[in-house]
Amino acid sequence: MSAAPETISAGSARFTRFFIYGALIILAIVYLLPLYVMLSTSLKSLDEIRGGDMLALPTDPSIAAWMKAWGEACIGVSCVGIKGYFWNSIKMVVPAVVISTLLGALNGYVLTKWRFPGHKLVFGMMLFACFIPFQAVLIPMARLLGLMGLSNSTTGLVMVHVVYGLGFTTLFFRNYYEAFPDELVKAAMIDGAGFFKIFWRILLPSSGPIIVVTVIYQFTNIWNDFLFGVSFSSGEASPMTVALNNLVSSSTGVKEYNVDMAAAVFAALPTLFVYVVAGRYFVRGLMAGAVKG
């Protein structure tokens, strides 16, 4: 399974192994450093940060900065911490993920098992929608949300994320169902199951892996979104990423690096948690999104 050619010469082999492990360990340290610095800074006091060494472990670790970031930090004019924004993101992510995944599954089902003339064009158009720079739809979307009375609302953001996530969820399910045997659908048809029965009883129960992949992909993307958040919401209605940016880039008062870092950790926690719990699926999702067709 591994493509690695085995090194034949024994003399240079040891040196090669040494080099490989050395390089990998150094690289791993470099990749971990920003996370380590972020975490250790968030556990330090401001005095320790100013006087001390960024790479040093906190001498007196405290979660004071975390508490402050969560409940007291000032974002804009209100000083109630990031907790409200955290919940905003949750309230935005959950419905957007559920709706876009469900629609993607149905679309993928139709595009593979109920093909019609032109299905390829329809899919191609949906696929291209994954790639457009969102700047090209930003102004009309802002106008439309305004007209619908949804600007600066979680509902509006849910709608935006569903709309622009559809291409990806459809792609995931289409590619998965493409490999699902047609004969099973035919058998179910002869057995008397209709369009929705076949979907519900035959395809969906076998879709576990792709559902996990899609949910993780959508969750990560929507949670991490900044552009839509900053364009279509402001103040109290902002999602987490926008609040974090406002907190970090505000220039009023004393710069509290530890609070900034603690807020960044909060913003990173949900996706990191998903990554740690279901990393395998996470990577598969990224790949599925990257390798098209």
Binding site: P34, V110, L111, M125, A136, L244, A264, G279
Partner: protein, 308 residues
């Protein structure tokens, strides 16, 4: 052909297609229709809308008064836009080249029957799970000249160590490259690793029997076989580079001055802050054209290959 018996023609009743039957045959399209309509309106309709705006005289609000190519002339006479384009060129080229090179390098190292692969792989990949805003925030702190890396190195005794790229207009765009590469290279590594694992082991055995060294096996056989992965990596990275917005905002805010302006930040500030909606739209159209030029040929070839 002699044994076919003549068929007795029976006047059997033929059931008509009922309304329910017709509904049933149209149901799949009915299910797909809302999604497709949404894509048509919110993607293609909105793109047309944006294109329309770029030909108007819209400033703070959309007005539908014909302005011709005025917005495009104004766009291409903005020094800011040239800065953005130049930055995109620097960022794009370095980001794609470094992510690919580092990703491939780590993937090859990881493919040497590494014991701790299960520990190492998530370390290289976790940055991809983070929001660009978090990445920007972390690196902004890490590269902070007063308290970050520079401060630390001086504390360690390297008194003359200077790393002020974040506040140096000439160098600031390279900090965006560093943070961007840190975030995406692990993912490119995973793509290459998957590609390496997909190569038929017998080809490599054959090359070994033919007497090829490890280096030449990689150079002559494995890397050429990874061509599709290179293409996919390029597409992913190029498209991420053009869309990059959050990272710049969080890391440098487009500054110092306009030193890290990118087309994406340009579009946003002209549209929403500087009240030049037509110029903002024109810049969005330029971005769309850039991405279309990369994506459409790729999608076309991918969908065509599928057919064969």
């Amino acid at each position: 052909m002699t044994t076919i018996e003549p068929m007795p023609v029976i006047a059997a009743e033929r059931p008509r297609k009922s309304f329910a039957d017709r509904l049933r045959s149209g149901l799949p399209k009915l299910v797909l229709a809302p999604s497709f309509a949404v894509i048509l309106i919110f993607v293609y309709g909105f793109i047309l809308w944006t294109i329309t705006l770029s030909f108007t005289t819209s400033r703070i609000l959309p007005v539908y008064k014909w302005g011709g190519f005025d917005a495009y002339f104004r766009l291409w006479s903005q020094p800011n836009w040239y800065v953005a384009m130049q930055n995109l060129a620097i960022f794009g080229v370095l980001y794609i080249a470094l992510c690919t090179a580092i990703g491939l390098f780590i993937a090859i190292l990881m493919d040497q029957r590494i014991r701790a692969e299960g520990v190492l792989r998530p370390i290289f990949l976790y940055p991809m799970a983070l929001s660009f805003v978090v990445t920007g925030t972390a690196w902004k702190w890490f590269l902070n000249p007063g308290l970050g890396l520079e401060h630390t190195m001086r504390n360690l005794g390297w008194e003359s160590f200077t790393f002020d790229w974040l506040v140096n207009p000439k160098m600031a765009i390279y900090t965006v490259v560093i943070a961007g590469v840190w975030q995406a290279s692990g993912f490119i590594m995973a793509m290459f690793l998957a590609g390496l694992r997909g190569i038929d082991g017998e080809i490599i055995k054959a090359a070994q029997i033919d007497g090829a060294s490890t280096v030449s096996i990689y150079r002559r056989i494995i890397i050429p076989l990874l061509r599709p992965v290179f293409l996919s990596a390029f597409i992913v990275l190029a498209h991420m580079a053009i869309k990059s917005y959050d990272l710049v905002i969080a890391l440098t805010g487009g500054g110092p001055g306009n030193a890290t302006e990118l087309p994406s930040t340009f579009m946003y500030s002209y549209t929403f802050n500087r009240n030049q909606m037509n110029v903002g739209s024109a810049s969005a159209v330029m971005m769309l054209m850039g991405i279309t030029a990369i994506i459409v040929p790729y999608l076309y070839s991918e969908l065509r290959e599928k057919k064969q």
